[in-house]
Symmetry: C2
């Protein structure tokens, strides 16, 4: 199973619960955005059982740390994650409170001219807020 590798890479043993989480996160070609609570709902529906929130949090954070998920920087009461871990950006529709992917190719090249001493750039993320 391809998920086992992801889990092991993230320092996690492949357990039933974690494989269920993988199933929801990675069994589709389409990437998507989610909050922990939305993920928990999906799991409940898809696997037809409930799972402790702590398990969901732990697993998601391990994946995020390893780069299998990304946190999306946005001001919201809940943290948003993205299964699309390629270098890309986001629209945020303020009215609908929905995120929309914005591919790198849809943004001109971004050149950061200012350098900070002793620091390396880890990522450059663009958030485009939308209104009507």
């Amino acid at each position: 199973m391809k998920y086992i590798e992801k889990l092991r890479n993230s320092g996690l043993r492949p357990t039933k619960q974690r494989l269920q989480i993988c199933e929801v996160l990675f069994n589709t070609d389409k990437t998507f955005h989610f909050t922990i609570n939305e993920l928990e709902q999906k799991i409940k529906k898809q696997a037809n059982n409930k799972m402790s929130l702590a398990t969901v949090y732990n697993t998601v954070h391990a994946f995020e740390k390893k780069g299998y998920l990304k946190q999306i920087p946005i001001n919201s009461s809940e943290t948003y994650f993205d299964t699309n871990v390629t270098d890309h950006h986001h629209f945020y529709d303020l009215k609908e409170e929905k995120l929309i992917d914005l591919e790198n190719s849809d943004v001109g090249p971004i050149n950061i001219l200012k350098k900070i001493n002793g620091k390396k750039i880890k990522s450059v993320e663009v958030l485009v807020k939308l209104e009507d």
Copy 2:
């Protein structure tokens, strides 16, 4: 007093507490980043009295709504605000957990090629994460 106008514009009467908040936020040429708790500490020190957190939250949110303050989109347990309301961007030093301004002129022009039907771009914000 110049603060009275800002308050009135934000739909707030000029009270002693609100003027104290303005004093801390706007009496300097230098702009800065802050969380509600940092702001409360500054107020306590500068005005030598304590103020209800609720008052600080209310006032900051009113200013933010009116555009006298900006929220900085970042994943942190506390919300960060910026007294610099010009169009600009941020570095985020992951190790120090510190924000650094990144002026528009230090970023090449950003051209959003993708359009979303019926939506207007309200803002374009870049977050550059820094590591050692």
